[in-house]
């Protein structure tokens, strides 16, 4: 089975004035279709840098990143934009919904930038995506009329509407209370069971526990790669992290 994500010796160096900051020091891993992966790590670990690279928001300094067959490290800005549009559904901590647009209009947005899709089809697909996250009755609501959990579900519908290879969620529960967080994680699980590949970036072990596989990044390197079968609780992960650090 072809991998969704295949990274090989991925490195990212930032030039801050005269100082070189090595955010990623060579990371290798593969994610296959249908996986639910959490990427964990403390702040400053290179977790965000990895997320930007995986999200095609940035290009690596060196190394290889094959996203659903596309060599991302060789794409220019325009091609990166197209890759983001076609291959990735983003879910952000801040939801990032357009406040003056309705839920349906927000979900339609990636299809607008896809181009070549009729208004009717766009609306149809947006409606389907909203129904799939349980918001079929909130399509014409504006974000301010929705709860935090509902707003995040609109954002997830927006991520799904392009039928991407990968749903990439960056701290999706960071702005939600525990009840809404639980709701969103259940939704992610359901989506994953329907075959959608999900990569979740978080620093909360409780949230990461919902994933079946956990990648821990520390000091710009992959510290551990644990599957749920033997890492059934977060303590175990913490031990692994501690072990990797020792």
């Amino acid at each position: 089975m072809a991998a969704i994500i295949q990274v090989e010796d991925l490195k990212k160096v930032y030039q801050m004035g005269d100082v070189e900051v090595q955010a990623l020091r060579g990371v290798d891993f593969t994610i296959h279709p249908g996986e639910f992966v959490a990427i964990m790590g403390p702040s400053g670990s290179g977790k965000s840098t990895l997320m930007n690279l995986l999200g095609c928001l940035d290009t690596p300094t060196s190394g290889r990143y094959l996203l659903d067959g596309v060599p991302v490290e060789r794409l220019d800005k325009n091609q990166l934009a197209v890759a983001r549009n076609k291959k990735i559904g983003f879910v952000f901590q801040q939801f990032n919904l357009l406040p003056r647009s309705t839920a349906r209009e927000n979900v339609e947005l990636p299809l607008v930038y896809r181009g070549g899709i009729s208004t009717e089809e766009r609306q149809q697909r947006a409606a389907e995506a909203l129904e799939s996250v349980g918001l079929g009755d909130r399509m014409d609501h504006h974000p301010r009329e929705l709860s935090g959990g509902q707003q995040q579900r609109v954002a997830i519908a927006r991520g799904l509407v392009t039928r991407p290879a990968l749903l990439l969620a960056d701290e999706p529960t960071g702005n939600l209370d525990s009840h809404a967080s639980e709701e969103i994680m259940t939704l992610f699980k359901n989506l994953n069971e329907q075959g959608i590949t999900i990569v979740l970036v978080t620093h909360e072990p409780d949230i990461a526990d919902h994933a079946e596989r956990q990648l821990v990044i520390r000091d710009g390197q992959l510290a551990s790669d644990i599957r749920r079968s033997e890492a059934s609780d977060s303590h175990r992960v913490k031990e692994e992290v501690a072990h990797a650090n020792s």
């Binding site: 991998a3 295949q6 090989e8 290798d28 891993f29 593969t30 930007n52 999200g55 928001l57 940035d58 290889r64 094959l66 067959g69 596309v70 060599p71 060789r74 794409l75 800005k77 325009n78 091609q79 934009a81 197209v82 890759a83 983001r84 549009n85 076609k86 983003f90 952000f92 801040q94 990032n96 357009l98 003056r100 647009s101 947005l109 990636p110 607008v112 930038y113 896809r114 181009g115 070549g116 927006r158 392009t162 992959l222 551990s224 790669d225 644990i226 599957r227 079968s229 033997e230 890492a231 692994e240």
Partner: protein
């Protein structure tokens, strides 16, 4: 399945062998956003903040409004001045005594008394001046008090020949004009201007009445229709008498000098058509120089010939300059309006940084963001231009209703000011749009 602690290493055969110069197999064919979609996005952002949109356009609205209204009023005044000058036809020449460029203590322009009735007769001779159609020697222009019964009025008195009526395109409300017979027999008859008639004879029936001018009794033979016009000596406020009567009876004390003939103050010549003006000018000049015995080289003319076309050109030129000046001031305000657009657009880019970041994350290319912001700026300036144009036209209509001047909106000024407004919007929209497009999605998404 035990895979813990496994460092993920990808088997070499899983990584397709690629070299750097090998073309990327792009499964990512670009479809992109259509112009219609860009416009829809731009309009929905503009509609999202209506008050700001209107305030931003206001600079351009006022600028275009000022350009249209001022140019229309300027054009109106220009037309009015041209019309009053050319009312009697533009192929007119006026010959006056005294050289316009004479030095010494010669007195004011036109005061040199060198033209006689014989000069006028010479010009009238078709063998001398074939290009002349009509010749009207005129005398006087001096004022005198008119007394009719209990009414009296100071008025300008002009001595005229019958040709005066045709040359000045006068029509009579009542009675008839000065005739050749009256000129020959030096009759005491007078033709009243419209205002003079209504002042002296408020009840009407002026023709046939008598009035006194400088102690002499004159019979009213005609009343002119109101000619309107302004400035340049309206006939409405003057009276006309036979030229011989003016020369010998009214202004006799300064009638006879050097040449021995009776003086005329000016000779108005109507050329056959606009093309023969220059020929007429040369011919008149030749006749007069010959009659006044001026050597062919050396001595300058002791008369001057004023071309009506020159006066018209000068007047039109000066109003044109004024109009351009007003238009330029208005255009500056339009430019200021453009700077207002740029200012708001820059603020808007900053304010919407996160939104731009989101759009980019969702697949907007730099071109898409650039287009959206450019369309926003262009819409602001175009809408401002159209509204300003409408308001400018309303002002022109208002000015017309007020009757001060007949403002006329030139289609060219409409096209140009709207075009200029659009260019201003485009020019000042480029920098904000470029900044928006250049934002890095990573930075923009973290911005708050």
């Amino acid at each position: 399945m035990l895979t813990a602690d496994r460092t993920i290493t990808v088997p070499a055969e899983n990584v397709p062998a690629r070299t750097e110069d090998e073309p990327v197999d792009i499964v990512l064919e670009e479809q992109g956003i259509s112009l219609g979609e860009s416009m829809r996005l731009a309009f929905s952002s503009l509609m999202a903040n209506k008050l700001r949109t209107i305030l931003t356009s206001l600079g351009v609205i006022i600028g275009v409004m000022a350009v249209i209204a001022l140019l229309a009023i300027g054009k109106g005044s220009q037309d009015a001045i041209a019309a009053s000058i050319t009312k009697n036809g533009s192929n007119m020449l006026t010959v006056r005594g005294g050289a316009a460029n004479a030095g010494g203590a010669r007195g004011q322009f036109g005061s040199g008394q060198t033209l006689t009735i014989q000069d006028a007769q010479a010009i009238s001779d078709p063998s001398n001046v074939p290009a002349a159609l009509l010749v009207s020697p005129e005398s006087g222009g001096g004022g005198a008090q008119l007394v009719a019964g209990s009414q009296n009025l100071g008025a300008r008195i002009t001595g005229a020949e019958p040709t005066y009526q045709q040359i000045h395109n006068l029509s009579l409300a009542d009675g008839e004009f000065v005739t050749d017979a009256e000129v020959t027999s030096i009759d005491n008859v007078v033709v009243l201007g419209a205002n003079v008639a209504t002042t002296l004879y408020p009840g009407g029936g002026a023709v046939g009445q008598s009035l006194r001018i400088r102690g002499q009794t004159f019979r009213v033979v005609g009343v002119l229709n109101a000619q309107g016009g302004s400035g340049f000596g309206s006939t409405d406020d003057g009276v006309l008498v036979p030229i011989s009567t003016a020369q010998r009876k009214l202004f006799g004390d300064r009638a006879i000098t050097g040449g021995g003939g009776l003086l005329v103050s000016s000779i108005v010549v109507q050329a056959r058509d606009a093309n023969s003006i220059n020929a007429a000018l040369d011919q008149i000049s030749t006749v007069l120089r010959d009659r006044h015995q001026l050597p062919a080289n050396g001595a300058s003319d002791d008369f001057s010939i004023i071309n009506q076309q020159d006066i018209l050109n000068t007047a039109v030129q000066s109003t044109k300059v004024l109009t351009l000046f007003l238009g330029a001031i208005a255009a500056i305000s339009l430019l200021v309006g453009g700077i207002g657009i740029m200012n708001i657009m820059l603020v808007s880019v900053r304010e919407r940084t996160r939104e731009i970041g989101l759009r980019k994350a969702l697949g907007a290319r730099e071109k898409d963001i650039l287009t959206q912001f450019l369309i926003e700026a262009l819409s602001l300036s175009t809408a401002g231009g159209l509204i300003g144009c409408l308001l400018g036209m309303l002002i022109a209509v208002g000015v017309n209703l007020s009757g001060i001047v007949q403002a006329s909106v030139a289609p060219l000024s409409v096209v140009m000011s709207i075009g200029f407004a659009m260019a201003v919007g485009l020019f000042f929209g480029i920098e904000p749009a470029r900044r928006a497009a250049a934002l890095s999605p990573i930075v923009a998404l973290r911005y708050d």
